[in-house]
Symmetry: C2
Subunit: 192 residues, 2 copies
């Protein structure tokens, strides 16, 4: 859960420019450190280097009786549109733990993970989605404050034109295509 920041309309949470050293507070310079290949925010005062790296979005496809639980967003961006329970992976947790945490926080549903289903890159915003198939243990849920409502959808019920993110749209499309014979294989794709 990370709700204090209103994201821009494209769903981006791109790191903002680093202007100061987060160790000593001095103004940084952008340069390629010795032995490195990329420009970094280097502190001329204390020599600390601030690295920025892509972030993982972890979450699940919670399934009950062939239907997937979607959450209608109570927050920007994409307020009112539907998505899978997912969010930024936190320090000190595994991808599995993060996926379960986000599912609990956003959908308020108890699930058991059934395997990693999708690894998707959203390069323009330096994000990697890692989404798991998950079995809903009991068909009841209590969405968190960032969710207006949650509901189960069969493929022909999904509001395809009201899905919040292209990554989620593509994951759902692939999931339902494979669910016909129940043979799920890892999906890897890029969304630009």
């Amino acid at each position: 859960m990370r709700r204090a920041v209103v994201l821009p309309d494209n769903g981006a949470m791109h790191p903002s420019p680093i202007l100061h050293c987060n160790r000593c507070g001095a103004a940084v310079v952008q340069r390629v450190p010795e032995g490195d290949s990329h420009p970094r925010a280097v502190c001329p005062a204390c020599t600390h280097i601030q690295y920025e790296n892509p972030r993982n979005i972890v979450g699940t496809l919670p399934v009950w009786d062939g239907r997937v639980l979607l959450c209608r967003r109570a927050i920007e961006p994409r307020y009112g549109l539907w998505t899978l329970p997912a969010g930024f992976m936190e320090l000190g947790e595994t991808t599995d733990q993060g996926a379960l945490r986000e599912t609990r926080e956003e959908a308020g549903v108890d699930v058991e993970l059934e395997g990693l289903y999708c690894v998707a890159n959203v390069r323009p915003v330096s994000q990697v989605y890692l989404l798991y198939r998950a079995r809903i243990v009991q068909p009841s849920w209590q969405p968190g404050i960032e969710t207006l409502e949650a509901a189960l959808f069969a493929p022909d019920q999904v509001p395809w034109d009201q899905i919040a993110f292209r990554t989620v749209h593509e994951t759902l499309r692939r999931y339902f295509a494979q669910s016909a014979d129940g043979r799920f294989t890892l999906q890897t794709f890029d969304v630009d």
Copy 2:
């Protein structure tokens, strides 16, 4: 490539404590922002929030004729030990692109990716490994400055007690176990 920092012996590159705002330079406070669930480094002067998230290590298992190309480290930690070409994913690249870049930088070998093979969590240091199977296009390589030498190893030739990281050890063990019949499936595991 990120070579300016000597890592501690456990291979950790854990984010250092955030003491100052990287937007305005003021001293931060650690608190849970409104609507959030985790403590963050919040700037009392400009309200900017600095998030820290896990980092991805991307790389490959470069294969030629059933043997895997390993690189002997010319840098700390684990100087002199063997590893797979891999490193921190950079902003603005996909996991595939990062894996290819690291393979080029560290092993100096031309490969074609054959699919994601391993997603491994190293929770104590908040890292996620994403390693791809890769076909070596031509059996020649020119290791970069962070590699002492590179060499192909069949399973019975691997220096199992001189592998730099447990994640790499476990990935190689699983790879060679599956290579017997050539049916590779995604490996997901945690290393603590």
